[in-house]
């Protein structure tokens, strides 16, 4: 056994098994001594089953390292055998980590893909307009407002809940759908939409200011390139100039930012989902952390890591498509 978390886990297991044993009518005829022995055996078995009898990590010998729990988690993670959770169940009653994650993923994807798309395209659009009007009142205002994004989305979420749910009673406090859920599919969708408004708004407010600010600066830098100036001299009209001479050369950066933002969004937001009681991966993360459910935490992390790896790999191929300066393979240079 290892650190303090292991002690907590061990105490949890002992308590759980004691309660089970004492409440089981089959053991009513046992003496206290026999019960104590039975509990001890069952606890030892459970500890062995969870692998808690092995040290968490060891570096004293190669053998020790290969037989530590960390190595076991690592191998399981790499081979995507996410195994079974320790405490958390899926709503269908399964303890398979895959199933639990699969059940939660769509809700996170729904909420945060929408939110991220909104923030991304809104900030890109506003930033382009502002970069055209460098130094104007709106531009200076956007710079001044940028620090508003230092407050996280759940902070704005709480305020929004206070205003729109508690005081005005226009929108629900949280959750996915009304209770009881509407039978009609369209009504169901509308109900989900209604529950999405406040988390979306919170996410949007906390993301938009810094998004606008950073893209505006980005576009300002690239709109002073010589070839942009030249295109302007050529009489390329404004919109076309932006598309062909600012957005097009910076497409790899924009795509990268977009892809990484999207997969980060799929993994949900831990506190925002908890604040809004949204049944996505974020609140699953929260539950897993508070219950020391290692397989779930490892599972979520590993899926994100694989998603990141695959995305970066795909991005490398996309770069070669959108930027002629990058070539695939060792093609002869012209």
């Amino acid at each position: 056994m290892g650190g303090y978390v292991d002690n907590i886990k061990k105490a949890q297991i002992t308590e759980q098994i004691s309660v089970q044993v004492y409440q089981n009518p089959a053991y009513q005829s046992y003496t206290t001594e026999e019960l104590r022995k039975l509990i001890e055996q069952k606890v030892a078995l459970e500890i062995k089953r969870l692998g808690l009898d092995k040290p968490f990590i060891r570096f004293d010998s190669l053998y020790g390292f290969f037989h530590s729990r960390a190595f076991m988690y690592l191998i399981n993670a790499l081979t995507l055998s996410l195994g079974r959770s320790e405490h958390i169940y899926s709503s269908s009653g399964s303890k398979q980590v895959w199933l639990i994650i699969k059940e939660r993923l769509p809700y996170s994807v729904l909420l945060f893909t929408t939110a991220s798309l909104l923030v991304f395209f809104a900030s890109l659009y506003v930033a382009l307009i502002l970069s055209r009007r460098y130094g104007s009142i709106w531009d200076r205002l956007s710079v001044a407002l940028a620090p508003l994004s230092t407050a996280p989305s759940w902070f704005y979420g709480i305020i929004l809940i206070l205003i729109f749910a508690a005081i005005l009673r226009l929108l629900p406090f949280g959750g996915l759908v009304d209770i009881p859920p509407p039978e009609n599919r369209i009504m169901y969708a509308l109900s989900v939409l209604k529950h999405m408004v406040l988390p979306l708004l919170g996410w949007f407010i906390s993301g938009i200011f810094v998004g606008v600010y950073s893209w505006r600066t980005f576009f300002l830098i690239y709109s002073s390139e010589d070839y942009v100036e030249m295109a302007r001299a050529k009489g390329v009209p404004g919109r076309l100039l932006e598309r062909r001479y600012i957005l097009r050369p910076t497409l790899p950066t924009i795509i990268t930012s977009f892809a990484l933002m999207l997969i980060a969004a799929w993994m949900g937001a831990i506190i925002t989902e908890s604040v809004f009681n949204w049944p996505g991966l974020g609140s699953l993360y929260m539950a897993a952390i508070s219950q020391f459910d290692t397989p779930i935490i490892v599972g979520l992390t590993v899926i994100y890591a694989y998603l990141l790896g695959v995305t970066v790999f795909i991005l490398d191929i996309v770069y070669a498509i959108v930027d002629p300066r990058i070539k695939v393979g060792g093609g002869t240079a012209a």
């Binding site: 010589d226 070839y227 009489g235 076309l240 930027d323």
Partner: protein, 317 residues
């Protein structure tokens, strides 16, 4: 004959944190069709700003942009930005930017970039425009199969030629060349200068050639303008200027140019060009001028010399 370009009292001031920069301060000149004017002066004297002011390529921190510019008799300062874009840019004036190495969009094929003004201003079909591009490439000496290449696949000299082809493709009347050869090796410089000379004669073009390379520019120049601290100090026929510069600054400038046949000691101008923020009162060259006298703390008038040259100096008043 009517001048092609007439500029009067052109001012272009920039706003900076240290104050107002008077980059172009009351410049006026006339340019006849089919001539070539060379604009010389030290770095930072306002040559490039003058080109940008004529093309209305203004940076974001403009403080003052005023004066009169007549092109072919038309008062272009009256046009709004959209009219200026449609009627003037690449229709009548084209531009070869300084640092043409970076004047091409890195992710678009050079052929398309050269064709772009035709597509925008002449509403040409793409195939037709590409045929014109091939012609333009032949004129400036770029292999015609380069149309499908990207800028990074071209050498510096080739890129420069592509930018020149881009400036010629719509048959504008006036081409402003801002140091078209400054980043190139001497052989390529000479090559490009020769091409420019041939093109000018062939297509009846008018050039404004901005340079600090006085010797190379003499190949092309018919008129000469010397700028100092945002103002014109000497303006006239290039032949007169190259043989016998009148303004003390022009004289110093010419004596700093090495020549092959003459045996002369190269001269330099002591001191620094003045800051264009709060430039000195009176003659702006006075602090560095070897011939200064009491009158020089007054603003010198523009004096017409007997050969028709205009000199901004008290010596000729």
């Amino acid at each position: 004959m009517e001048p092609l370009l007439k500029v009067e009292g052109l001012k272009l001031y920039f706003r900076t944190t240290k104050g107002i920069v008077q980059a172009v301060d009351g410049v006026g000149f006339e340019l006849m069709p089919r001539t070539a004017m060379v604009v010389v002066g030290e770095s930072g004297c306002g040559k490039t700003s003058l080109a940008r002011a004529i093309l209305r390529l203004l940076p974001k921190n403009v403080h003052t942009y005023s004066g009169k510019i007549y092109l072919d008799g038309q008062d272009v300062m009256q046009l709004n930005d959209e009219q200026f874009r449609r009627q003037i840019r690449w229709q009548k004036i084209s531009y070869v930017a300084q640092a043409a190495m970076n004047a091409l969009n890195p992710v678009i094929k050079v052929g398309f970039q050269v064709a772009e003004p035709l597509l925008i201003h002449k509403r040409m079909k793409r195939e037709e425009a590409m045929r014109r591009v091939v012609e333009a490439f032949q004129i400036v000496g770029v292999p015609t199969d380069f149309v499908d290449r990207y800028p990074f696949e071209l050498s510096g000299g080739m890129r420069q030629r592509v930018v020149i082809a881009m400036a010629l493709v719509t048959n504008p009347q006036l081409v402003i060349l801002d140091e078209p050869t400054s980043a190139l090796d001497v052989l390529t410089q000479a090559n490009i200068m020769n091409s420019l000379k041939g093109i000018k004669q062939e297509f009846d073009l008018t050039y404004i050639l901005i340079t600090h390379d006085i010797s190379t520019s003499s190949e092309l120049a018919l008129e000469a303008m010397v700028m100092y601290a945002g103002q014109i100090v000497e303006l006239g026929k290039a032949g007169h200027f190259y043989l016998e510069p009148l303004h003390p600054y022009s004289q110093k400038l010419m004596s700093s140019v090495p020549t092959l046949r003459e045996d002369k000691e190269l001269d330099f101008i002591p001191g620094q060009p003045p800051s264009l923020i709060n430039p000195p009162k009176g003659c702006r060259f006075a602090p560095r001028c070897p011939k200064r006298f009491s009158a020089c703390d007054q603003e010198p008038p523009m004096v017409e010399y007997k050969d028709g040259r205009k000199i901004k100096c008290h010596l000729y008043a």
